[in-house]
Symmetry: D2
Subunit: 339 residues, 4 copies
């Protein structure tokens, strides 16, 4: 952390900054220039998080140099994490393919989908039992009944299952049925929910917020991890920009950035990112080529009748052919795929 | 709602769209052009929310024409709402000034602030007992103890009090102490929390999400209102853009837009929007001039020692002089101010 | 400028950075911490602009501390600039009101508008002779004929006139007819055009680019000023965000930011920013209250027949009443208005 | 195009809209609903571009249904365009690799680079002779001397060459030396320059603006094409968002969107998009996998001494190894690569 002083800062202001920092048990380094004086801070800057140095007379600004997240930081954990989810792993040499309907609508719909995606090569079944919808008048999910269908689907197919949770009550119920919890984009900074997910011993799939920076995303992971749960998987699902040709803008650069800054696995959701069925295949290929650890793809037995996000869902047939087309890209990128 | 068909859509596709719409109990209007055929939908479009017309062969796109929010919509409630909060109202001819510390730190800090802001002209005391912070290592709030200090501050000063709630547990506790609940920007689409706030009989101050459109914001209000609680106050606190000179970009255009689309009151938070103390006064004047129903301004007895957001907090003296400077702007805009 | 070294940077890398900086004639200040070593640069950092220090082994990042613009920087010119435009000034205690049609369509249209706005209180006539339009099939402007009408309007009304220029050819023609050149948002980083405008002795109204940061905007002003032309007026006209309820998002925070960083005057264009006639009045009041030096408002004798941007144009009657409503806000803010 | 009337629009307003449309020689289709009346327009809507229907009493909004660009639209030119550039083509089954320094610095630097990239597999040499730089105090390019070096590099290596042009003067000079003109991101809506480029008979590489929508980008291409030059190649180079971990956000979704809407080829520039050398390889792979027709990659003999954009430039060795790593991805995607 560096404190930049105003051009005309008085010596007593400089001294006050230095004293404040030293009171917090840290050392300083003073650099006086013609125009600008800067004060470097040496030691653990988290001690200063409440020091409000900006408010000392003569301080122009504070420039942070190091990240505030620790447990998710690659600097302190250089090896990539490989996370066990039921009978499969995410983050190693396997390419994870999470698939299923946006919303669980019925036992029949879910079981048919589970069998179809397993046959096509998916490794994890996804399905929404608690649906965050923009309008209160849209379908909101089957809740516990949906979770029971998920457990049944796992029993029949052997696929581990993941469900989004949107409240403490949902967490408490979901842990009885699922292999992984999902925190959705709209709840990425619902810090209360992050901590509750951190208290479970299930892995957590953490979607990036609609306009969250990568730094905030890793800090959100830190909330989960600081409760003692190291098993976080990041999921990029498109960020909000001015472009309207796609529902969101898929930020594939997040893959190399995360690989550089963190040891956590990252998977890509091209279905929500684009909102358009036909863009799922090219962007899935691209995600694999860029180094993603997995994909999350929406599939529905009859997209035209889906209660949520039909337009971006693939049919069983299309999903199977997508998996086949992805296979050589996965292999080229050194990842094993089930398809 | 209008369905636009592809240039080469077959007659049977057009028929299928029409049949689907009619099955949901609505009427259609067909318009065939040289290049484009469009089908208008006549009747209550919410019935079609799960129809997935996009997926019928030959459909190019769906163009929504009317808003999905009803209770917050001015079309169905042309008179502006005036909402009672403790002994004061928001949305009428009074200019509400909500003020107080970002985070409640101690009884002494809160009481001193409450007395100072009351004297300066504030009408509501704000203070955070549950703090959503980007990093888990920052101060997280005094929780119930903070709420108790708020109740005491109300007792001493007569000012109604508002606190942010971040979970069902916090809602259940807060209703015993406060006059208004606040849903913060990061929870604007925490639909579960919105519904819980809607089930209380307290007014709710709903902050706009970091990258929420005005349409989504009014839909979030709809979640609260559809639970039977009509008392929602909107609060614009800056949206996320590429600009870094301010913490966020304050969207004052939201004032006339909300006044046109909704009957709910709108207040402005220049402290969080800019993150810079010196910008609070000019943007508060601007907010009043643009027609805001109130302001939310952070004040701290000693900003240099604030545990949260010190750099944007005003001292007691500055706050008093800000209120004095705002007075003629309020009067010019036809609003009564206590200062 | 500060150079942050990687945690494991070798001593020889640190030496190489220091040597490189010193070769450019600057001094350094070394600060070694447990985790991070930083090197401060003392002296004129523009000398280092091509040094590519980032590429020396062991360098993690470069953190700029001071701005790259000089002539537009308030640090080196603390007094606000007051700029003469024809018989009026911008930036002092007068509130400038620039008004007129988006596009000049005919002599009759322009003269009628010029007389009407003068009567209402405008101080400068604006009108587009060279129109940058998204589609090549939209009306592109009357070019030199439009400029001639502008000159005639000035003759008849005494109002100074401003026109947008979009090429060197347009600059060369316009200087014969107008009192101020305008560089539009789409050309804010057309550096060639900025320099050509800088070579004239006319004041230049520089609109902010659609997604330009304030830093880039002041650097664009620097292009004009570094050619010897100190007379630049900044104009905020809305930035591009995800919000679609308004054409752009008007960034009124830019007013206090510019007032802090620069001595140049700043005016606000609520017509282009919102794209909606009814939002012009509330946002004009807000702009004045926030400290703007002027306004640019579109007026058209018959907006329903305007060849460009009709929906955001005011009629003569509305413009006159807007000016009357703005008058007390201007006076309250210490600005003289002609209305 | 659809005109949506306000709920309470009078019959005479509806008639006025219909009459206006019919006066422009088009037909209408009226659809009256309980709440909303809509009027569809049948025929060539460009005739209505100046009709300002929004301003007729009772009109709520205009909803465009079809795109305003024609020549770049796939609807009217279903086959993908293959564009000849010197001795190579862009848009067919070959993967174009354009490479070279951001700025041409000397004959020696350019020739060394040209030979190195040719050997590694590049098909086109890029290099900046006219550099648009944020600050006027940064290196601005060698101009005509740079173009002469480009011509010499072509002579020696046989590689076609592309240079950015920033003014009419630059266009007039560049056409004598280069095989393709480049319009940079900052000039994407410099419509005057687009038209001048359209009047040459050279192919034009059109970069997407910093915050341009895909629709605006195709309209910019339309400016070039409407002057009689059909040879436009689109280049995505990152858009501006709130994320700061990368210089811009590379929008790879633009590839499938462009492939759906237009017949023009699209290439990707990962160097400018990310600003980080290490992200070039993963995003180049991703671009190929998503269907890009080519790549533009910055290479410099000694990035540490580059006068522009050194941190994102590859060395000769790295570039050669990048090309080798891209080869199997190109082949898998059905593209021929020279490497």
């Amino acid at each position: 952390m560096i404190i930049v002083m105003e051009p005309k800062a008085k010596d007593e202001s400089i001294k006050q900054v230095i004293n404040t920092i030293e009171q917090f048990g840290l050392q300083t380094n003073l650099s006086k220039g013609d125009q600008t004086t800067i004060i470097g801070v040496i030691g653990d800057k988290t001690k200063l998080s409440d020091a409000n140095l900006e408010l000392i007379d003569g301080v122009e600004k504070i420039v942070p140099i190091t990240e505030s997240y620790k447990l998710s930081n690659k600097k302190f954990h250089p090896e990539p994490s490989v996370i066990q989810v039921g009978n499969t792993t995410i983050g190693g040499t396997d390419l994870s393919i999470m698939s299923g309907p946006c919303a669980i609508e019925s036992e029949e719909q879910l079981l048919a989908t589970a069998h179809a995606i397993k046959k096509a090569g998916a490794t994890i079944l996804r399905g929404g039992a608690y649906k965050p919808r923009t309008s209160p008048y849209s379908f909101q999910g089957l809740e516990v009944e949906g979770l029971q269908f998920m457990a049944k689907a796992r029993e029949e197919t052997g696929l581990p299952v993941v469900c989004e949770v949107t409240s403490l009550a949902a967490v408490e119920t979901a842990v009885k049925y699922v292999d992984m919890l999902q925190i959705g984009a709209r709840n990425m900074q619902n810090f209360y929910l992050l901590k509750e997910a951190g208290k479970t011993n299930l892995p957590v799939l953490l979607k990036r917020g609609l306009s969250a920076t990568i730094d905030e995303w890793l800090n959100a992971a830190e909330y989960i991890m600081s409760e003692g749960n190291p098993n976080v998987i990041l999921c990029e699902r498109g960020i909000r920009t001015f472009e309207t040709a796609t529902r969101n803008t898929l930020d594939l650069s997040a893959i190399p950035v995360i690989k550089e800054k963190s040891h956590l696995p990252i998977i890509i959701d091209p279905s929500h990112a684009t909102g358009v069925r036909d863009y799922v295949l090219p962007l899935s290929k691209a995600a694999i080529a860029a180094g993603a650890d997995g994909l999350m793809i929406e599939v529905h037995p009859n997209p035209a009748k889906a209660l949520s996000d039909g337009p971006q869902s693939l049919t069983f047939e299309t999903f199977e052919s997508v998996c086949q087309e992805l296979k050589p890209y996965a292999e080229l990128s050194g990842k094993k795929i089930n398809a």
